[in-house]
Structures are given as structure tokens and as C-alpha cells.
């Protein structure tokens, strides 16, 4: 049953991607439907549905948070670069994450690379090593907030 | 305005091509070649040939770059990161 649901969701997502890639060309829709169903079935074989499903509302909330913060990140970098004194205090910081193994941790590591002041360097088990632009900032709190949003995404 | 774009493309194509040939550091030559591939793709775009641009971006800038990187890593294994800074070819 979970398989059928996953297959339907993946087919729908692939159809949206196909629709975007062909720029809505109706002549290609038939191929798209066939390809989407086929790829969804094959993907189920290689990537069986994992236990924590991302929840839609929380995913959108995280996406909003991420977009806002990545804009802050760009502005922050620009501000530092354009100021003549070049205010930087680079350094490493190790963060122990409470997120579950697999997708949540991987998402946190990748998202942090685009959030202000952090760049994820290594991920070993639950130890996430970050490179920070300015170690005097409350980086730890920022990371904890991003982690909180991701945790809500995969909750339940 | 577009003559400026085309002129810049022509000059940069020549510059990158010469840079690839003159660079004595092989890795630098490969990265320059990848840059040349992207600029070549842009030149095809300006010549109204998006299909060739697609092939150039995929093969010239992408796959050939990867193959050449592989070749370079076989040539100078382990020596790459110890180059003295500011060395000019």
C-alpha cells in the first residue's frame, strides 16, 4: 500500500518535471506519462520508500525559511566583501546534530552550505564540521534553528 | 550592445585558446580548456545554433573536461597541491 502511494506521488512529481522541461508542449505529454510511470517504478526498486516521509506543510515552511536565510547569506557576504576592512574571523566549528540518519542529516549539511556564515565540511556520524566566516557570530543558534525546521519536516 | 558581447566572446575565445596552449601546468590547461568549452558554447548560441551549443556544453565543457582531469591525475599524482604560488607558465 505504501508502495502504491509512493509510486503515485513520484509519478505526479515526475510529470510536473516533464511538463516544465517540455515547456507545456501537449504533443509530448503521451511520452511524458509513459516515461514518468516507468521511471517511478524503477526508482521504487532502487530507492524504496523510506520511513520518515517529509510532510508537505512543514516542507513549505522550511523552504520559506531557507529562501529567506539564503538571501540574508548573500547580503551578509556582500556586506563583508564591500567593507574596506574585510571583517572576517574564519574558523571551524563542530556541531552535534540530533537529526536522524540519512536524508534529514544530508539535507541539513547541504542546506547549511547556503545559509549565512556556514559551510558544511564533513559529516561523520552525527558530527557535522562547519567552516564559519565569522566565529564571533552566534552560529550555533543559527544551525540549531535550521535543524529545528528540518526536524519538523520529518516528524511523525 | 550585442556587438560588444560578440567582440568580447571572440577575444576571450582567442585568449583562452592561447592560454591552454601556453600553460605549462597541465591542470591549469585543463581548467582553461573547460572554460574555452563554455565560451565556445556561448559562441554557438550567438550564432543561433542552440543544438550545437547543447552538444558543446555537454561534450566540450563537461565530459572532455572530466576525461582530461582523469588523465592529468594519472600524470602528476600527488604533486598537484605543492606547486609554488604565483608560478607563471
Amino acid at each position: 500500500m505504501a508502495y502504491a502511494g509512493s509510486a503515485a506521488v513520484r509519478t505526479a512529481l515526475l510529470l510536473v518535471v516533464w511538463w516544465a522541461l517540455t515547456e507545456g508542449d501537449p504533443g509530448a505529454a503521451g511520452f511524458g506519462l509513459g516515461a514518468a510511470v516507468l521511471v517511478a517504478l524503477v526508482s521504487l526498486r532502487f530507492f524504496p520508500p523510506a520511513a520518515p516521509h517529509p510532510r508537505l506543510a512543514a516542507t513549505l515552511a522550511f523552504a520559506g525559511y531557507f529562501l529567506l536565510r539564503s538571501m540574508v547569506a548573500g547580503v551578509d557576504v556582500a556586506r563583508r566583501l564591500l567593507s574596506p576592512r574585510l571583517p572576517l574571523r574564519p574558523g571551524y566549528l563542530t556541531y552535534t546534530t540530533a537529526l536522524a540518519e540519512g536524508r534529514p542529516r544530508w539535507l541539513l549539511a547541504n542546506a547549511l552550505s547556503l545559509l549565512p556564515g556556514t559551510l558544511s565540511v564533513t559529516l561523520r556520524g552525527d558530527e557535522l564540521e562547519l567552516h564559519c566566516l565569522d566565529t564571533s557570530l552566534p552560529v550555533h543558534e543559527d544551525v540549531a534553528r535550521a535543524e529545528h525546521w528540518i526536524a519538523r519536516m520529518f516528524a511523525g | 550592445m550585442s556587438w560588444l558581447l560578440d567582440g568580447l566572446l571572440i577575444v576571450s575565445l582567442l585568449v583562452t585558446a592561447v592560454a591552454v596552449l601556453l600553460s605549462r601546468d597541465l591542470f591549469r590547461a585543463v581548467v582553461m580548456f573547460m572554460a574555452f568549452g563554455l565560451l565556445m558554447a556561448l559562441a554557438w548560441v550567438r550564432l543561433q545554433a542552440p543544438d550545437i551549443a547543447l552538444a558543446e556544453a555537454a561534450i566540450g565543457a563537461g565530459l572532455t573536461g572530466v576525461l582530461l582531469l582523469d588523465a592529468v591525475s594519472h600524470f602528476q599524482r600527488g604533486r598537484l597541491r605543492e606547486q609554488p604560488p604565483g608560478e607563471e607558465g
Binding site: W19, V75, L81, S113, L114, L119, H131, L133 | R81
Partner: protein
């Protein structure tokens, strides 16, 4: 009236996007080491790309084309986050005295 407003907004977004790309390139020259350069490049360039995408959206033909542009932006975002992480990890591994030649 609202058409002019849209055009002004579009021009503003495109120009700001260019500015952020300029900052990314500037970072490539002003910053002292490779890791900080990765910071500047990924963040500034992605914001620049995002702004340019937003600036292009009102001009495109239909919703499917808009979706395609957004899809390309997402791919570029994921690609640059992954690339930044990979280069950072490689540099860190070399700092630890592992010259990478492997066992």
C-alpha cells in the same frame, strides 16, 4: 501604469542580480584563502542567480516556461551546494595531512 511598475521592478531585479554576481567575482580576488572564497562564491552567486531568475519570470511566455526556469534554478542551487561541500571536504582532508594518495 502597473506595466511600467512591473518593468521597473524587473530591471531592478536584473541589475541587483548582476551586482551580486559582481560581488561573487570580487570575492574570488579579495578573500585570503580557498574556503572563504567558497563561501563568497556560493552564497553571492546563488542570490544573484535567484534575483535574475525572478527578474526574468514576468517576461516569460507561460507557466510551464516559468516552472522550467525555476527548475533550472533549483538544479543550480543543489549543484553549487554539493560542489561547495565536496571542495570543502577535500580541502579539510588535505589539511589533516592526508595528501590524498590513499592507502
Amino acid at each position: 501604469m502597473s506595466d511600467t511598475l512591473l518593468l521597473v521592478l524587473q530591471a531592478l531585479l536584473l541589475v541587483t542580480g548582476c551586482l551580486f554576481f559582481a560581488v561573487g567575482t570580487l570575492g574570488l580576488f579579495r578573500l585570503p584563502d580557498t574556503l572563504t572564497r567558497i563561501h563568497a562564491l556560493t552564497k553571492a552567486d546563488n542570490l544573484g542567480l535567484g534575483l535574475i531568475v525572478m527578474g526574468l519570470l514576468p517576461a516569460v511566455a507561460g507557466p510551464a516556461t516559468a516552472a522550467k526556469i525555476l527548475l533550472i534554478w533549483l538544479v543550480a542551487l543543489a549543484a553549487s551546494a554539493t560542489a561547495a561541500h565536496l571542495v570543502g571536504r577535500a580541502l579539510r582532508a588535505m589539511e589533516d595531512g592526508d595528501d590524498g594518495s590513499g592507502p
